[in-house]
Chain length 216, copies 2
C-alpha cells in the first residue's frame, strides 16, 4: 500500500505532518512525500524547509493520496498548478483521495468534489462551494472514497479515522496511543461555533490578510 | 522574542511541528529551527528530510527553547550529544525551557529536571526518573520556567498553554481557532489509562523494539 502526501511551496506544515505522523506508524506502508520537483520546498512561514525526494511524475498510482492546505491554495487552484493536475491524474485509480484544510480547494479544482459534501478550513467554505461541493461543518467527512478534513490540526483526526476504516479500530487505537493523542487544549475554542465572536472576527481578518499577501 | 526548536537526526516530526505550527502564528516572534549543523536532517522514519538553516552555535540566547523527542533520545542523553550541551548552555538564560515527549530525557541529561515534577512519553517514565525528575501523568507540567509535555501530539497542547501564559488567553484562543484545533479523535484511547490493555502491551513492545533498533 502506498500513501502519497502531495506538497507544494507554501503548504501549511501541520496539515501534512499530522497525517504523516499517523500514517508512518502503520507497519508495511510506503509513505511518500512528493512535489512537482525534488529538492528544497518551504512552508507558508518560509521557516521550515523540506528536502523532497520524489516528484509527482514518479508517484502515478498511490492507493491513498492526501493534499494539505495553505494560504496559497486558492491561487494554485485557479491557476491549475501541477498539484491540481497530479490530483486529477491519480484520483481515478486511488482507493482514497483525501485533503486537510484548504487542500480541499485543490481537490475541488481537480474536479473531485462536484456534488459531494466536503469540508475545509472554516474560513474557506464559500470558495469550496465554488467547486460544486456542499460545505459541511464536520471535522472529517467521508463521501465514498473522497475524505476531507477541517482546518490544519484536523488532519490527525482524518488519518486516525482512515486507519480505523482501512485496518480496523485496534490499529487506529494503537497508533493513537503511540502518539499519545489524548488532546487537552487549554480552552474549548477551536471551532467558529465555540470561539468568542471577537476572536473569530480577529482570526478571520488575519487569515484574509495572509491570503491577500500571498496573492499580491 | 526568540523561540528556538532544537533538532537532531532521528527526531519525531510531530513533536517539533505541532509546537512550530502554534508558535509561528504569534505576531512578531522569531521562531528558529536549529541543529548541530546546517543542511539535511532526517526524522526517525528516515522519510522526512529538513534543510536546517541555523546551528546551535548561532542560537545562544533563546527566550524559549523547545526540544522534541524521538526513539534516539536515550542514546543522545547518555552520550551527551551536542543538543544536550546546547540545552545545558542556554537554559540558564532562557525564560522558558520546554520539551515534548522524550525530549524531556535531553533536558534531564542537561541537568534541568533535578528535583522537578516532569512528564514524557508514557513509555519513558523510568528513564525520566533516572535524571532526578518525578514522572507525573499530566499532559503538560509547569515547574517554574521548565515545562514538559507528554508524548508526541502533546506538544500542541503545551504550545497553546505557553501562549496563554505569555500572551494571554485571547491570543491562545485565536491561534487555536486559526489551526481549527477542536480535536475529535475517533476513539478515546490516547493514554495508557484509557487504552485497551492488549493494545497497551502491543504498543509498549513496538516502542521497545524501535528503541532497540536505534541503539543497535
Amino acid at each position: 500500500m502506498q500513501i502519497a502526501i502531495g506538497l507544494y511551496p507554501g503548504f501549511t506544515a501541520l496539515d501534512a505532518i499530522g497525517p504523516y505522523q499517523v500514517f508512518t506508524q502503520v507497519p508495511d506502508v510506503d509513505v511518500v512525500l512528493c512535489a512537482e520537483r525534488t529538492g528544497r520546498l518551504s512552508d507558508d512561514n518560509g521557516l521550515l524547509h523540506l528536502d523532497v525526494e520524489h516528484t509527482f511524475a514518479e508517484v502515478t498510482d498511490p492507493d491513498l493520496l492526501l493534499v494539505p492546505g495553505g494560504f496559497i491554495t486558492r491561487k494554485l487552484a485557479r491557476e491549475r498548478d501541477p498539484i491540481v493536475e497530479w490530483v486529477a491524474a491519480t484520483h481515478p485509480s486511488t482507493t482514497y483521495t483525501t485533503s486537510v484544510c484548504t487542500g480541499a480547494l485543490l481537490l475541488g479544482a481537480a474536479g473531485v468534489l462536484e456534488g459531494l459534501d466536503a469540508t475545509t478550513h472554516w474560513s474557506a467554505y464559500d470558495e469550496l462551494a465554488s467547486y460544486g461541493a456542499q460545505p459541511t461543518e464536520q471535522r472529517v467527512i467521508q463521501q465514498g472514497k473522497v475524505w476531507t478534513a477541517a482546518g490544519v490540526s484536523a488532519g490527525i483526526d482524518l488519518a486516525l479515522t482512515l486507519l480505523a476504516e482501512i485496518w480496523g479500530p485496534e490499529l487506529s487505537q494503537a497508533v493513537q496511543l503511540g502518539i499519545e493523542y489524548d488532546p487537552q487544549p487549554p480552552y474549548d475554542a477551536g471551532s467558529p461555533t465555540k470561539a468568542d465572536p471577537e476572536i473569530l472576527d480577529l482570526v478571520r481578518a488575519v487569515s484574509a490578510q495572509r491570503e491577500a499577501d500571498v496573492l499580491a
